[in-house]
C-alpha cells in the first residue's frame, strides 16, 4: 500500500503485517528509552481540519517515538472552504519538504482525493462519516491481545452507526480478520443498508450483549448529528447505556471497549469503564504502537522509491 486511506483496500495479510510490526513497537514503547531512530530523516505533517485531541496526540507520540520530525497544522474546515483549497493547503505544507501527511477531515473521501493530487504518503486519521482506519486497527489489535485472536469472535458495535467512521472501519477490519460483527443502536442511527456490509443488526442491547464476546461502545457524538435522532441523552442511556446491573445480569465476561473519549454515564457507566473487563486504556496504549507500525511501513515505501 502507498497510503493508508481506509481498511477497504487492505488484505488480511496487510493487517497481520501491521500487527506484527506493532507488537515490536509495543515492546519498544514499554522500554525505559522509548525512542527508535527509524524515521530520523522523515518529516510528517499532522493536518487536522477537525478537532481532535486524542488521535492527534497518539499520532504525534508515534511519530516522535520513531524520531520523525513533526509539524502540526490545524484549521476549521470552514476557513478552508472560504479560501484556500485542500490541495493548495497541503501542497503549501509539502513545499516545505514534508514526506507524509496524516490528515483528519470532515468530508468522506477527502484523503482519497488528496492522495490523487499531491506527492506524499497520506494517512487517513478520520474522514467524516467514512473511515478511521488506525482506530479500527488498534481496536482489532486490542481484541487480539486480550482474547488471543480476532477470528471467530463475536463483536457488537453499539451506538451511532449512521455517523460513525469508527464503525465502518471496524466492520471492514473485523470481517477481514474473521470475526462476526453486529451493530446495535436506535433505528434512527442505523443505516438502512447496514446489513449490506455483511453484518447483523440488533436493536435490543441486552440481546446484543448476550450474543457477543466483545462490546465496542461508541461515543455519542452530538456534534456530528445535524438533527435530533433521539429525544434526549437520558432516553438514549435508558436503552443503550451499559451499566453494572445490565452487565452482571448477562452472566458472562464480555470485553468492553470504547474509542474514547468516554461520556461517563451515557454509553457506559464508570464502574464498567474502570472494570477489569474494560480494555479502554489498553486501546489507547495500542493506538501508539499501531500508528508507529503504520507510519514505519509507509515510510519504508518512501525509502524504496529513492
Amino acid at each position: 500500500m502507498d497510503h493508508l486511506l481506509g481498511i477497504k483496500g487492505l488484505t488480511a495479510e496487510d493487517i497481520n503485517l501491521i500487527f506484527n510490526t506493532a507488537d515490536n513497537f509495543k515492546e519498544v514503547i514499554n522500554r525505559p528509552i522509548k525512542k527508535v531512530p527509524s524515521l530520523r530523516d522523515i518529516t510528517i505533517a499532522n493536518i487536522f481540519f477537525e478537532n481532535s485531541t486524542r488521535t492527534k496526540l497518539s499520532f504525534e507520540l508515534a511519530e516522535k517515538r520513531l524520531s520523525a520530525d513533526v509539524v502540526n497544522f490545524a484549521s476549521s474546515s470552514s476557513s478552508v472552504k472560504k479560501g484556500e483549497t485542500l490541495i493548495d493547503t497541503v501542497n503549501n505544507i509539502l513545499a516545505m519538504k514534508v514526506d507524509m501527511v496524516v490528515m483528519r477531515h470532515p468530508n468522506p473521501g477527502a484523503p482519497h482525493f488528496l492522495s490523487k493530487n499531491v506527492q506524499a504518503k497520506v494517512v487517513n486519521a478520520g474522514d467524516g462519516t467514512h473511515e478511521h482506519p488506525t482506530q479500527a486497527l488498534l481496536d482489532s489489535f486490542s481484541i487480539r491481545e486480550k482474547l488471543g485472536t480476532v477470528k471467530g469472535k463475536k463483536v457488537v458495535i453499539v451506538g451511532d452507526i449512521l455517523h460513525s467512521r469508527v464503525a465502518i472501519s471496524n466492520i471492514y477490519c473485523l470481517k477481514l480478520l474473521g470475526a462476526e460483527v453486529m451493530v446495535c443502536g436506535p433505528r434512527t442511527l442505523i443505516p438502512k443498508y447496514a446489513e449490506s456490509l455483511g453484518i447483523m443488526v440488533e436493536y435490543d442491547l441486552r440481546k446484543a450483549l448476550e450474543w457477543c464476546d466483545v462490546a465496542n461502545m461508541l461515543r455519542i457524538q452530538l456534534e456530528r448529528q445535524d438533527m435530533a435522532y433521539f429525544p434526549s441523552l437520558r432516553e438514549y442511556t435508558m436503552q443503550y447505556g451499559l451499566d453494572k446491573a445490565l452487565f452482571e445480569s448477562i452472566g458472562k465476561a464480555i470485553t468492553v471497549m470504547h474509542p474514547g473519549p468516554v461520556n461517563r454515564g451515557v454509553e457506559i457507566s464508570s464502574d464498567i469503564a474502570d472494570s477489569a473487563n474494560s480494555i479502554i486504556l489498553q486501546q489507547v496504549e495500542n493506538g501508539v504502537a499501531i500508528r508507529m507500525a503504520v507510519l514505519y511501513l509507509l515510510a519504508g515505501k518512501i525509502k524504496s522509491l529513492d
Binding site: K81, T85, I87, P108, G109, H112, F113, G128, L197
Partner: protein, 414 residues
C-alpha cells in the same frame, strides 16, 4: 449556398420515407429537393458511411451558466457545443445569475441566439429568484418567448405554489417543469442511498425522496388539470407512477438524462465528483429498469442536463463539489451505448427531437421539399472523437474508448 447530403437514411418516425436512403439538396437554408439520386453542382457535399439524417435535435435541459458564470461555458460557446453535439434547439434552465424570472432575461437569451444555428427556448422561473415563494411574471415571459416554467433543480416544496403555478400557466398553455425531489427527508444528500453510500460514508438520497414528490405532484395535477413535465427522473418507480397518471389522461410527461441511462452509482466508488449528479445516479438494477421503461415508451424525453462547472467547483472534496456534468458532447455516443440495443433508432431519436418540441409547444420541423432545413446529419456506427471537446466545462467525465456515435453536421440557420 447549395449543400447536398448524399445517400443518407432518413430517421424520422413520422416521415413517409423513414428508413429510406435519399439525397437531400439544401439551397440557401431551404430543402430544395429530396430524391433517390440528385445530380447537382453544389458548394458542399456531405457524404460518409451509413449516414443518417433526422430533424434537428432539441436538448430540453441545459444550462450554459449565462448570465452570471460565463467563464463556466457562456451562451456563445454553449451554442457551439450544442451544434457540435447535434442540437439545433436547446431549452435553457432559468437558474442563472440573475435568474430568468422576467421578460428582459428571456429576451436576452432569445436575441443572443440569433445567427448561431441553434434556437434557444428559455425556461422561465416559476418563482421570483427561484425562492419558491412568489410567482414570477410567467405570462409576460411566455409572451417574450419562454416555453415552459420551472424552478430548475430547486424543488417546489410549497404545495400551494405548484398548485397555483399549474392553474395559472394553463391559461397560456405552457407546461410546468418540476424536478421532483423531497430534500427535507434526508437533507444534504450526496448520492444514491444504498450499500455503496453506506460503505463510502456519504449521505444517501433515497429513491423515495423522488417518488413521494412524484405522488404529490400527480395529485396536484389531477386536482388542477394542468400540464406537468417531470424531470429529471432517476427512479424507475417514478416512471410507473407517471404512466399510471397518463393512463388516466392526466397531462404529464417524463424526462430522464442521458447520464442516468448510461451510468450507475458504481461510478462513484472512488469519489469521482464528475458523477455527482442531482438527481443522483442510482443502482445498476435501477438503470437497467430505466432502459426497459424507455423501450416501453414510459420515458418521453432524454436530455443532456448539461451543467458545466469549472475546476474550482468540481475538483474538491466530494461533499463540497457542485452537482452536475458537462456531458452534452457525449450525448449521442452515450445514448446509443445505453439504449441503442433496446429501442429502434427512430424512436430513440424522437425522444430528443420530436418529444421536447411537442411538450413545449414548439413547431416540429419536417424533412420536406420547400421546408426550411432543420437537420442533423450523423453516423451511428462511426467512432466518437473524444479528443476535441469544445465545452469549457471541467466536469466532462472520462469515458471508455471506442464509443460509437458521431454527429457530422447540423443544418439550420436562425
Amino acid at each position: 449556398m447549395k449543400t447536398l447530403i448524399s445517400q443518407a437514411k432518413i430517421i424520422d418516425k413520422r416521415h413517409a420515407q423513414n428508413g429510406q436512403m435519399v439525397d437531400i439538396l439544401v439551397h440557401d437554408g431551404v430543402i430544395e429537393k429530396i430524391a433517390k439520386n440528385i445530380d447537382a453542382e453544389v458548394d458542399e457535399k456531405i457524404r460518409g458511411d451509413h449516414l443518417c439524417v433526422s430533424i434537428g435535435w432539441m436538448d430540453m435541459r441545459a444550462n450554459f451558466q449565462d448570465p452570471g458564470h460565463e467563464y463556466k461555458e457562456g451562451l456563445s460557446n454553449g451554442l457551439v457545443v450544442a451544434a457540435k453535439s447535434g442540437f439545433t434547439a436547446v431549452a435553457l434552465s432559468p437558474d442563472t445569475k440573475p435568474v430568468v424570472d422576467n421578460k428582459g432575461a428571456v429576451e436576452y437569451l432569445k436575441n443572443r441566439a440569433k445567427g448561431s444555428g441553434v434556437d434557444v427556448f428559455p425556461i422561465g422561473a416559476v418563482s421570483v429568484d427561484l425562492k419558491g415563494k412568489a410567482m414570477s411574471e410567467m405570462y409576460d415571459m411566455r409572451q417574450a418567448g419562454a416555453v415552459g416554467f420551472s424552478d430548475s433543480k430547486n424543488p417546489i416544496n410549497e404545495s400551494g405554489l405548484l398548485h397555483r403555478a399549474l392553474l395559472y400557466t394553463a391559461n397560456f398553455n405552457a407546461p410546468v417543469l418540476h424536478f421532483p425531489y423531497d430534500d427535507q427527508l434526508i437533507p444534504n444528500g450526496q448520492m444514491n442511498e444504498g450499500p455503496l453510500s453506506t460503505s463510502l460514508g456519504l449521505k444517501g438520497i433515497p429513491t423515495i425522496s423522488e417518488e413521494m414528490m412524484v405522488r404529490r405532484d400527480l395529485t396536484l395535477l389531477e386536482y388542477t388539470n394542468g400540464k406537468l413535465h417531470l424531470g429529471p427522473i432517476s427512479s424507475f418507480k417514478s416512471l410507473e407512477l407517471a404512466q399510471e397518471a397518463k393512463s388516466e389522461n392526466l397531462k404529464v410527461t417524463t424526462e430522464t438524462t442521458v447520464a442516468h441511462l448510461a451510468f450507475s452509482e458504481n461510478e462513484l466508488a472512488d469519489f469521482d465528483t464528475n458523477f455527482k449528479l442531482l438527481p443522483p445516479l442510482r443502482s445498476e438494477k435501477n438503470r437497467s429498469k430505466l432502459i426497459k421503461a424507455l423501450a416501453e415508451g414510459k420515458i418521453d424525453v432524454i436530455s443532456s442536463d448539461h451543467n458545466p462547472e469549472d475546476e474550482e467547483h468540481k475538483k474538491l472534496e466530494f461533499d463540497l463539489a457542485e452537482f452536475g456534468m458537462a456531458g452534452m458532447e457525449l450525448f449521442l455516443p452515450l445514448v446509443l451505448k445505453a439504449a441503442g440495443g433496446s429501442i429502434k433508432l427512430d424512436e430513440l431519436i424522437s425522444k430528443f427531437s420530436i418529444a421536447p418540441r411537442e411538450i413545449l409547444g414548439i413547431a416540429v420541423p419536417t424533412i420536406a421539399e420547400g421546408e426550411k432545413a432543420n437537420l442533423t446529419v450523423f453516423q451511428a456506427n462511426a467512432e466518437f472523437d473524444s479528443t476535441n471537446f469544445m465545452s469549457k466545462g471541467f466536469n466532462i467525465p472520462e469515458i471508455s474508448k471506442g464509443l460509437k456515435g458521431k454527429v457530422v453536421k447540423t443544418i439550420y440557420s436562425n
